[in-house]
Point group: C2
Chain length 162, copies 2
Amino acid sequence: MITVLHVTETPTLFDWAGGSAAFERLINAFYDRVEGDELLTPLFPGGVSDEHRTHVTAWWSEVFGGPAEYSSELGGYHRMVNKHVDLGITPEQRYRFASLMSLAADDAGLPDDPEFRAAFVGYVEWGTRIALANSQPGADIVQQAPVPRWGWGVAPPYQPSN
Amino acid sequence: MITVLHVTETPTLFDWAGGSAAFERLINAFYDRVEGDELLTPLFPGGVSDEHRTHVTAWWSEVFGGPAEYSSELGGYHRMVNKHVDLGITPEQRYRFASLMSLAADDAGLPDDPEFRAAFVGYVEWGTRIALANSQPGADIVQQAPVPRWGWGVAPPYQPSN
């Protein structure tokens, strides 16, 4: 007789979303929307380069629990935070940014279960509000910190036990 | 010599937001926006009554850690879930609902720190996606459940220790 012990582990948000390919689709879908948005294009003069898209994909992958490439290869938190200095992001731009990210998740076919999307928009809200604060002229910016690792928070993924 | 032990406790989202008065402002600001929104007014024929606003305020207060009045006085989860049966909420209506809630939080002067707002939009996303699913004709609806209690999740409130 063989006994199979079924252990349900909580996947990372990165794995639940579909890994690297999913985040690549997400970030490309997002910047495609940004390039057509009159409020946000001033923050990306000349459009959003392939290099920028690749770097941001690495950031998001790491934040959601994927490979730590942004930390090991791309300069980590210090590099990212200095991208926002003195941009003077407005509350309207932040709101638009967060709103488009939610639509881009649909464009990219990310999972749309309530639990994943709650965690997803939670990070978007948190990160965009920190970026807004850091982008104000004269802001007191934390220069060194680990790249954040977001998680499921209040609502873990719904996984029927079977 | 007197030693003061400073214990920093994590407040509920309800208390952090400002208690009952804050949720009353939030829900009124939200429904004021709904009443002027062409996508959402079909879900509220004749406008949003004072009674509806009061009941929804009680729901939100309880979800965010305030008094459990919706459970004890207003019928609890079973009552709420049956408000959505067969409404056939569309993804566009859900997205608009969630988007307006974020603006209503600004209207109502709720705290705008990244941690509070991350938890706030996380619940909005989670709750609206469950409501969307439950509102579809033929949906398999869970009829009895506790009123959810949302929490800070990944990012607890930033409280400088002093």
